[in-house]
Symmetry: C2
Subunit: 110 residues, 2 copies
DNA sequence: AATAATATATCGCTATGTCACATATAACAT
DNA sequence: ATGTTATATGTGACATAGCGATATATTATT
């Protein structure tokens, strides 16, 4: 696992990105992050669930309970209109950030 | 300025990178970060100085006081042998981190 | 019957960036 | 002379957010 501190600030971008195309629940998001990063990134549930609540409270995602026979209850979150704006802005911010670090750390052609 | 949280974890990489080629003092490092990032990144002195002490305590950088006539006293830091190893590792970590985020956030071709 | 995978939840801890403030010298303008 | 800005270092209190550990409970697998 990467340095804990590196992850701060990128979590929101990850969550918002993952619920961009369709609604997903917490556990699914957690597994997707792990899988898509090839194990490089892993979000502890003690970070993930509170983060989902924060994002919902801010109106960037919207959750609803899903109860199906033969499944545990899940809370599925989808991106709101406001969330879509924020996601766009966060992508830009992320890219500026990476560019700045690469520039300073001499990783431009790395 | 970027999201405060994004910066956590990248600060060490920045400092170590900047003292890689030659010794520099805190104020100089602070100005370089601001200049090289085109103003995108700015480190508060209240983050920078304590970070320098931490890095020195860990033996990754080595500082010494420089007193010249016509100049305020400065504490110049240079990368140690150990620091050089750490810097190499942190560059790799950083690149893995960025690759993972880009992969998950759908920014591969952005 | 036991174990693992699924799914959500939270307390206490820790790390680290920031705000605001403090000190002090050198350079420059008025 | 006086004031302002840039240089240069330093710190106490605070806020944020990820993590380890732990908890609960259902479904699937062995």
């Amino acid at each position: 696992m990467l340095d804990r501190e590196l992850k701060k600030g990128s979590a929101e971008l990850l969550i918002l990105s993952l619920v961009e195309t369709r609604a997903r629940h917490g556990y699914e998001i957690s597994k997707m992050i792990e899988a898509r990063s090839g194990g490089t990134l892993k979000f502890n549930v003690a970070s993930l669930y509170p983060l989902l609540y924060r994002l919902e409270k801010r109106g960037w995602i919207e959750g609803h309970w899903l109860e199906k026979a033969g499944q545990k209850r899940r809370r599925c979150y989808k991106l709101t209109k406001e969330g879509r704006k924020i996601l766009k802005a966060q992508r830009t911010t992320w890219q500026s950030f990476v560019a700045a670090i690469n520039q300073i750390a001499g990783l431009d052609n790395a």
